[in-house]
């Protein structure tokens, strides 16, 4: 379905309004500050990214998994499903949809265990607590909450076209590509169509490389205001990173995070 974004479920159902996001997050934001909330999502984006890399998935699959993750919590509180379970579930589902081939259950679980133990031991002291049956159960809930919308358009393809149009520059593409990866740590994938995100990331890359492409950008037939908004989200992320030490803060944030509650025992 790479053909028609405008008729896609991504365009018709999953470009959300900023006000929607604020309303849906009301519960979580009564417990966490906006910045803390964002830091938690930055952390789990890294978990998904690391899991995906460990499983040798392509960036496209990782990006789709990350968008599933964000879409689920755009409609639900963090307490509904433990994000540590939802993250690998998103990877599992995305790898099937993007046809990377099914990841075997045991490989997925053992990768989760290794990654949590070796790469995220600053956040989790215990070992990865979930098993295949948890992932499979969670997958049904994920699919329901995504309303079966599984095809996600990503900024990577439009980015390739844009860079080609500028005149093929390896350095620019590499940097802009990384900015797109970074953009997965923000809300832009929930709010803007992927081609706009691609343009926003490209613009940031041009600024960083001090390439003057103003004339080229001016000729693009896009809503410049939207591009600026996207760039703002990403610059805010860079600003936050300057002073944020995840290794120090994340345990505190995870313990503060709203968590699933069992049935009331009585």
């Amino acid at each position: 379905m790479a053909g028609n974004f405008w008729q896609s479920s991504h365009h018709q159902q999953w470009l959300l309004d900023k006000q929607d996001l604020i309303r849906e997050r009301k519960h979580d934001l009564s417990i966490l500050s906006e910045e803390e909330y964002q830091k938690i999502f930055i952390f789990f984006s890294s978990v998904i990214q690391t899991l995906g890399e460990q499983l040798k998935l392509r960036q496209q699959v990782i990006a789709t998994a990350t968008v599933y993750f964000k879409r689920f919590y755009a409609r639900n509180s963090l307490k509904c499903i433990d994000p540590l379970l939802l993250a690998p579930t998103c990877i599992f589902l995305a790898s099937k949809v993007e046809e990377f081939g099914v990841i075997s259950n045991s490989r997925l679980i053992s990768t989760c265990q290794t990654v949590i133990k070796n790469k995220f031991n600053y956040a989790y002291l215990q070992e990865f607590p979930y098993r295949t049956n948890h992932i499979l159960e969670c997958e049904f809930y994920l699919l329901e909450n995504l309303d079966c919308c599984l095809i996600v358009y990503q900024p990577y393809r439009p980015l390739l076209q844009l860079v080609q149009d500028i005149g093929h520059e390896e350095q620019l593409l590499t940097l802009a590509w990384r900015v797109v990866n970074d953009s997965l740590r923000t809300d832009v994938s929930l709010l803007y169509p992927p081609y706009q995100i691609a343009i926003g990331c490209l613009q940031i890359a041009c600024v960083i490389l001090q390439k003057d492409q103003k004339a080229w950008f001016a000729e693009l037939n896009v809503d410049i205001e939207k591009i600026q908004e996207i760039a703002r989200y990403i610059i805010n992320l860079f600003e936050l990173w300057k002073t944020y030490d995840e290794k120090k803060e994340i345990q505190g944030l995870l313990s503060k995070m709203p968590k699933p509650k069992p049935a009331q025992q009585r």
Binding site: A2, S77, K96, E139, Y141
Partner: protein, 458 residues
């Protein structure tokens, strides 16, 4: 810290909101299809908010297989009048079954062709509008053009996957179905051949696939459409071939290639320059002698089936069945072909308002599988008299039986199929070797005794 995976309140809330397929639909005892993909039931809404029939497909196995994921992901996005419309997905958490809800299509080309073949064998004419084959082909092309322009390849086109709507608002409309194998083909993440070693049913497989092509293309779907078109014109699968080793993961298939060359002739180098680059080209040179096929050509084959080489139908068929995938016509070009601007023009209702001569789908009973083997024993005698090609790859559909039955107006009745003749349901492996005559020869012999020009009536 013992992590608790899911919030109880959330679980309860979603459970209460979740609609169960069995609460919404009546379908018990109404199974109409069974195969590797799962089970298909004909259902009606329990609340009678409409009187339409629905198809409920229960996907084989439990949970979300990759093909289930693909089917859901793609159908969720696709919308075209000639592509099956996914209305809803039901996830049954208790038994982990996945159900897909579609509009019900009363007919499919597998049954339609089978009906014509049986009629031909019994020398009974079937009354259908003159332009029906043309209308069918046009709508197949239209649907595939939509898929192809959305970067979706079907990869498993065959008569059983081409549905035709029965009475109702979409009467006589083609619906392309069974997208489980379909995939997006721009920017493939893996070489396609790595994912599904065997995808297209051999009879409808393009020669480049049989010679080891690593990537599926639009042209591969077009070849399959050419095969279906030929089968519609003649009621016989054009590249019929015995296929006992269907499970092989090796794409190279000697007998199937032999069959294609027997119909088409051996490809000249000038007709297909890149054939040299095919992975299995050395094997081809080793196994085949050009001289064995000098008298074979599509013209002769179709002429034997009373399709004149100067007809527009034949010209289009020839362009769909070009051996060189690069020269094969596209769906868009095919839809512009003169065949479709010549009278009779294609119609939206392929039956053009005429009565539909084909029987409705029959209900399967749960023990049909077991009966099948018994029936084989008892019916072999009969079957061998009207020996017809066995389509082993779609045995499930064969169970649906095209023979007439008097229960059409009584869908609640459960039908037993034993005792009925199922002409298509022959497993060649169960037959004595002497009976396994080459289908093609058999057909030529048969045609010699045939007085009518069948295709004119079709």
């Amino acid at each position: 810290m013992t992590a608790f995976m899911m919030d109880y309140e959330f679980k309860l809330k979603t459970q209460n909101e979740r609609v169960k397929v069995e609460d919404l639909f009546n379908y018990e005892g109404c199974k109409v299809g069974r195969g590797t993909y799962g089970h298909v039931y004909k259902g009606r809404r329990k609340d009678s908010s409409d009187n339409r029939d629905y198809a409920l497909k229960q996907i084989e196995g439990t949970g979300l297989s990759m093909s289930a994921c693909r089917e859901i992901a793609l159908l969720r996005e696709l919308k075209h009048s000639n592509v099956i419309n996914l209305i809803r997905v039901f996830l049954s958490h208790n038994d982990r079954k996945v159900w897909l809800l579609f509009d019900f299509a009363e007919h499919d080309l597998w049954h339609i062709i089978k009906f014509h073949r049986a009629a031909k064998a019994n020398k009974k004419p079937v009354m259908v509008p003159k332009g029906m084959v043309k209308s069918l082909l046009y709508q197949i092309l239209d649907g595939i053009h939509y898929l192809h322009s959305n970067w979706v390849l079907h990869r498993d086109l065959k008569p059983a996957n081409i549905l035709v709507m029965g009475e109702g608002s979409e009467r006589g409309r083609v619906k392309i179905a069974d997208m489980g194998f379909a995939r997006l083909f721009n920017a493939p993440l893996k070489p396609l051949a790595d994912l599904d070693p065997v995808v297209v049913t051999f009879w409808y497989r393009a020669p480049e696939l049989l010679l080891g092509a690593r990537h599926y293309t639009k042209a591969i779907d077009i070849w399959a459409i050419g095969c279906i078109f030929a089968e519609l014109l003649t009621s016989e699968p054009i590249f019929h071939c015995r296929q006992e080793d269907i499970k092989t993961s090796n794409p190279y298939h000697h007998d199937q290639l032999d069959r294609i060359f027997n119909v088409m002739g051996f490809p000249h180098e000038k007709d297909w320059e890149d054939i040299k680059k095919m992975p299995e080209h050395p094997t081809l040179l080793k196994d085949f002698k050009k001289s064995n096929y000098v008298n074979c050509s599509l013209i002769k084959y179709m002429d034997r089936h009373k399709i004149k080489p100067d007809s527009k139908a034949f010209h289009l068929l020839q362009k769909l069945l070009l051996m060189d995938p690069n020269k094969r016509i596209t769906s868009e070009q095919a839809m512009q072909d003169g065949y479709f601007s010549e009278e009779p023009l294609p119609t939206q209702d392929v039956f053009a308002g005429c009565p539909i001569p084909y029987p409705k789908r029959e209900f399967l009973t749960d023990d049909d599988q077991e009966e099948k083997s018994e029936k084989r024993q008892t019916q072999q005698q009969q079957q061998q008299q009207t020996q017809l090609p066995s389509q082993q790859q779609s045995q499930s559909q064969q169970l649906q039986s095209a023979s007439n039955n008097d229960n059409h107006n009584n869908p609640a009745k459960r039908v037993r199929l034993s005792g009925q003749q199922l002409p298509g349901q022959v497993n060649s492996q169960n037959m004595p070797i002497s009976q396994q005559t080459d289908f093609h020869q058999q057909h030529v012999m048969y045609n010699n005794t045939q007085q009518h020009n069948f295709s004119q009536r079709f």
